[in-house]
Symmetry: C2
Subunit: 780 residues, 2 copies
């Protein structure tokens, strides 16, 4: 299987350009470079040309219209850092510009096995000179600071004078679009260039952020080489001029190619930052040396090796639907590109592919993206989870700002761990973020059995988040533990009491905090967390009681779980008679109006039926599902995957597939028309879950792994690999059978349709007939 995405054009436009800046971006979880054209775009085009370092931020003011006590009035923002991708090319005096002259072909390729992007341009200049341009860009997974460009030109029809101007531009600003609330409204100068000079043949810049006072170093080294029409190395004389300014260095190469000859400009760019390195300049030259000592070819090879391992552990194929297979692979690759590789950062809503949502991390990471990594790459998942530990102190501070005496409250959106939500009602009030993070930690533990992670990192988070729930909640007159004035996942109803999702999530969070604490005691690993948290037997007791008594609302008359205390007393929004152009509702109705109706932006109670299904019986889930389905607009891209998973769970297979729909192709086909601002990472993770947890019915529980697959009517089948307790499993589902085998690791037992099977070795494939009615068997 070739994991390659290719797009070919005969003409160039702003729309194509901006979309492809996202689709063909290069990222490795540390740095991300938009797929902007080396030569830039025609004047007047509005494009987001950017390079980002995950976790590298500045702080910008966020003035509140009315500034009440402890309102957030500043926010972290991802900083656009030095541009090293710019290479301008002049061909016999004409600038390379695909909107002038004749464009024979423009092809962009993402090679997900090789881990680089290619760009091919076949162009005739206005003066009639034909050239081919080939550009290969890579951000290395094995040397994270490395962003390389190989830029080749071939003279096609005559001797051609070429001027190549390769730039390193440290003086950059962030993108802004005042018309879109999801993007920054003003372009602030976040980065000040402190030093910019040539040293040892490379140009480097040190820049500092204006408020956070972080430093970063960008380094760029250019070299040219020439080949004849047979690809043999030749010597061509060239002029080289270096133009050095305070915030940019341009290296200009001038030479003449004979017909058939080619030039290759190799540009090695290194990015370092002061979050990770004490001396960024030294680190940059050190990493440059690594590249030069090993050659770039070596890093291409290592990139391929890295990805071979990645695909081995995560590959998924949709049988009989290549387009979906391609889309699934693309999504996984994008998640890998987005995923933090160290504790200083996490996975942003748009990964490192664009500035949408300003590089902030949300619950998306833990609830929608981490499941993929936990099931395919648990060691990476562990790294990503450490970010929340790294920012635990900030969460403790945040809890204090919200008036809590104990515990930690994670921010709704952030880079550094500080709350960056400007509208607390659907920001800070979304306390479920706490339990979402706890959920991911517990999922990681259930899937890996990694009790040491719990001892070192996880349990402290579980205890501090559980404490917050205890501080937040209280017992009502009936003796129920209630959680008031919080906002659940559905942002069309805010600041409500006893949100079903939140109460389930908090119950889960608290119960597991206690359970894992007791397990650590049993395993003799409790001392560190005991001393760090100072938790007492009494406190554990009150946690148990609160979890036990947590109010999970149930409406007897309807037989459903009300979304919150007052939800059912509100009128039902008339979705049928709402004009199409009024969607998404949040862009057309004042939030206060939305809050007054039974209408959901996204899955809320339904999502809890996937994440906390053991808290509810099937009949209630089914009734609730039907109830909420009628009033949910899916105005959030996080909604349909939850509806899909739960439909699958309830045996509504057609619905499960219908909600899955084309969401896998959201970015690849730009169906939401905003992929230009960055990819939708949470949707990508959600689609993965819709297949694995939905169609295949995978559940990881304390007593083992369960699967209960079906095949959607439009598919022939699907197969995927996943990791469970250190074993690599292959799961292969077709219309008649599900076949499971153990690819790596020790023998293990798993449950298929509720029945236990032993997996011994690779050759021992378990084959079980598809059970068309697989609803009840999961709860064996």
């Amino acid at each position: 299987m070739n994991r390659i995405i290719t797009r070919t054009y005969k003409e160039h436009s702003q729309g194509i350009n901006n979309l492809n800046e996202t689709l063909f971006h290069n990222a490795n979880g540390y740095i991300g470079v938009r797929g902007s054209l080396e030569e830039g775009v025609p004047n007047g085009w509005n494009t987001m040309r950017g390079t980002y370092i995950n976790g590298f931020y500045d702080v910008i003011p966020m003035k509140q219209a009315e500034n009440l006590c402890n309102f957030v009035d500043k926010k972290d923002t991802m900083v656009n850092v030095a541009d090293t991708m710019t290479i301008k090319c002049t061909v016999d005096g004409d600038n390379l510009d695909m909107t002038t002259g004749k464009l024979f072909k423009h092809e962009r390729t993402l090679n997900m096995d090789a881990g680089y992007t290619d760009r091919l341009v076949e162009w005739e200049s206005p003066k009639g000179t034909d050239i081919d341009v080939h550009v290969r860009r890579m951000t290395s997974f094995v040397l994270l600071p490395l962003f390389s460009i190989e830029y080749s030109i071939t003279a096609k029809n005559k001797d051609t004078q070429i001027v190549l101007q390769s730039s390193h531009i440290a003086g950059v600003t962030n993108y802004c679009d005042p018309t879109d609330p999801r993007l920054a409204a003003e372009s602030l100068k976040n980065l000040e260039v402190v030093v910019m000079e040539m040293k040892d043949g490379a140009g480097y810049a040190v820049s500092q952020t204006s408020v956070s006072k972080l430093k970063m170093c960008s380094l760029s080294e250019n070299s040219v080489s020439f080949t004849d029409e047979n690809g043999e190395k030749i010597d061509v004389s060239y002029d080289k001029e270096i133009i050095s300014k305070a915030d940019r260095i341009d290296e200009v190469f001038t030479f003449t190619l004979r017909k058939g000859e080619s030039v290759t400009l190799t540009k090695i760019n290194i990015y370092e930052d002061s979050l990770r390195e004490t001396d960024c300049v030294e680190a940059a030259y050190r990493d440059l040396r690594k590249v030069k000592d090993n050659t770039l070819a070596y890093f291409y090879e290592k990139q391929a090796d890295y990805l071979k391992e990645f695909w081995k552990n995560s590959e998924m194929t949709i049988l009989g639907d290549d387009a979906s297979s391609d889309a699934v692979a693309f999504n996984m690759y994008e998640l890998l590109q987005a995923a933090a590789k160290d504790k200083y950062c996490s996975i942003a809503a748009k990964g490192l592919s664009g500035e949408g949502y300003e590089g902030h991390y949300f619950w998306d990471t833990e609830v929608f993206i981490l499941p993929f990594f936990i099931m395919t790459n648990p060691s990476l998942a562990k790294e990503i989870l450490k970010y929340r530990y790294y920012t635990l102190d900030k969460a403790r501070e945040n809890a204090k700002l919200l008036g809590h005496k104990r515990g930690a409250l994670y921010p709704w959106r952030t880079i550094t761990g500080a709350e960056c939500s400007g509208y607390f009602v659907s920001g800070s009030a979304a306390y479920h973020i706490n339990a979402d993070i706890a959920y991911a930690i517990i999922s990681y533990y259930l899937t890996t059995g990694d009790i040491d992670f719990i001892a070192d990192v996880g349990e402290e988070i579980l205890v501090e988040t559980a404490r917050l729930w205890l501080d937040l909640g209280n017992y009502n007159a009936n003796g129920d533990f209630v959680l008031n004035d919080v906002t659940g996942p559905d942002e069309y109803t805010c600041m409500i009491n006893n949100n079903y999702y939140t109460n389930c999530a908090a119950k889960y969070n608290i119960s597991w905090a206690v359970k894992l604490y007791e397990r650590l005691i049993e395993e003799g690993k409790v001392s560190a967390v005991a001393s760090k948290t100072g938790i007492t037997v009494e406190e554990l007791g009150s946690m148990k009681a609160a979890a036990d008594k947590m109010l999970l609302l149930y409406d007897k008359k309807l037989g459903i779980n009300p979304q919150d205390d007052s939800f059912l007393s509100k009128p039902i929004w008339d979705l049928e008679n709402t004009p199409k152009e009024d969607f998404p509702l949040l862009l057309h109705y004042h939030p206060l109006h939305l809050y007054r109706y039974q209408v959901c932006k996204q899955a809320d109670t339904v999502l809890s039926y996937f994440m906390f299904e053991e808290m509810q019986d099937i009949e209630t889930m089914r009734k609730s599902y039907e109830y909420y389905e009628k009033i949910t607009t899916h105005d959030s891209s996080l909604s349909t995957c939850a509806f899909s998973i739960v439909a699958s769970r309830l045996g509504m297979h057609d619905k499960g597939y219908a909600y899955f729909g084309d969401s896998t192709k959201l970015d690849l086909e730009n169906t939401h028309n905003n992929t230009k601002d960055g990819v939708h990472t949470a949707n990508m993770g959600g689609c993965y879950m819709a297949v694995v947890n939905g169609f295949a019915g995978v559940r990881i529980r304390e007593d083992g792994m369960y699967i209960a697959p079906f095949v959607p009517a439009d598919w022939e089948g699907y197969r995927f690999v996943m990791t469970y307790m250190g074993r690599l499993l292959s799961i292969n589902v077709d219309r008649s059978d599900v076949k499971v085998s153990l690819l790596e690791g020790e023998p293990i037992e798993i449950y298929i349709y509720g029945k236990k099977y032993a997996l011994s070795d690779r050759n021992n494939e378990i084959s079980v007939k598809i059970d068309g009615n697989c609803v009840a068997v999961i709860n064996s």
Copy 2:
């Protein structure tokens, strides 16, 4: 009785200065001039030097941290207009500056019978020249655009060279204080000077606001005259220089006074604006002519006449407590100064005495201030109510912004009628503003019987506000009409369901909309409002039903009215153990934290027991009162008067007086330490109600006027006059008797302690023994 407030000082300080800028401001409901010193203040003093025109506004940006659909992102702001009060005086070369030389005496006086302020300065210059300065300033109640200054200097110990520089400064900006959320954070240039020149011996300026494009004209004419030591007119030669700049004109008079001689600079200033006048300049010269034709003395006389009539209709005396009597008079005078005299404006939270709350109008006007005018000056009350009619279309637009299909929703804070609240949760969501306005209209009607006002103005507002309630609410499963997601008066609990106050208020609003519509039909006066509103029999029917079925929460177990659906399920805030420095809570706790507790910023349910007492039985009121009293912080200055009135109502006389306390003296004694930003008009109105509706037990109902007085233990008695159905009544209460007499108007019957008495004429005084136990008799 002399209604005079005098303050005498031997030295001058910033604190004294700023406080007196408020206390000794001059205003007439149209213009307001802060009591800033003519000569200004020493460098570095931060003072709010301002002149304001009621309703004259600009629009300034109010950026939202996260701008959701239909969020308010700009606001009206009261504009500081041209400074005509500035007069600098040089005495033998030394600038008059009370912080230099020797200050023998500085006296400031507010004469509330004459309607002007006086300032006396006895000062020795650093060079040893003694002078007396006397300044009289007046804003005329009979010629609203007029602000006059008479500025006199007497040479006390020697021949003295005087330079008087009288300025007209059109280039001014608003005050700002970035540290106080109740004041503007930035000083914006709201006013651009368009023309400034001398014409016909007076300097005038035309200025235009930057966004609202309103124009105003300020005009200033100076003249000097001299008298000898006996007060006889004399001729003294002087030099006069006019220095004319683009945004200011200075007229400089230079002369020598012999010992004992005096000069008087008479400065006639006129303010006109394009809201009220099509040609402001013409209007200004027209009004200047009026002053010159009649002389200033004539206007002093008219001012005294106007006030004589005012006091005749509103005077109140506390027997045996002169300080309280003075304070009550001061408060009434301040309300008169604050009160709009036309439909273009209303009564700002700080009147025209300062820029606190940016000149915005709140519910304060209708609920706390208008009762005073309705009971003492109903024709003025009517004018003030017309402002809400003038802005009804804006309220209709505001309703649409909040998603309502029908009806009008008045803004929480505004000048023009557009919502100017930046935090909708405790702003726009305070829907009760609608019913508060309806309540004032109904009170006006009940007190005056003015059915024509209802036909012309009132009923349209009642119908449109009632419609809004119908559009907002819905029937729950029990058949109750419920109102969800609104904020009641208590801003420590927001966006809740079935706020008791709001539901009572809405019920009242709707019932009266129907009742008065039916009355208009009976009286044959319905046609205009019928055609303007297009209301149908069906709609009236649904209004009746909704009012009937309005859910008024009652908790059986506690026997109280819960503040909202979920209030009682929340934990009670531990007020006892809250550190003193944490009050007011809103400055020390995030609102989300406050929302989670049973803790009240101000009277909410308790206030409804005054305004809508017929909706509840005494026993429930008493239990609720005791319940809420324990959890109310009175962090709002609107709270204690409601607690006082309701305590009086429930026969808790000591409590009624205790809550009344010194609140009458809040501004006069600067007990809240922020009188410098302007007077607290609502508190002034509330104090009035605490006496009239509280101690005297006055209620105006459909079937007549009720009184049921008691005398607080610390008082000997009190007397006041008030108007009811066109009659002027005198009510005189002492420890043994209440005496009521008819001062003006036709005979009428009123209820005293529930028993009917006939008032025939002035000589026929009704005397009734004080009934110490007057609780139940009001509900006769």
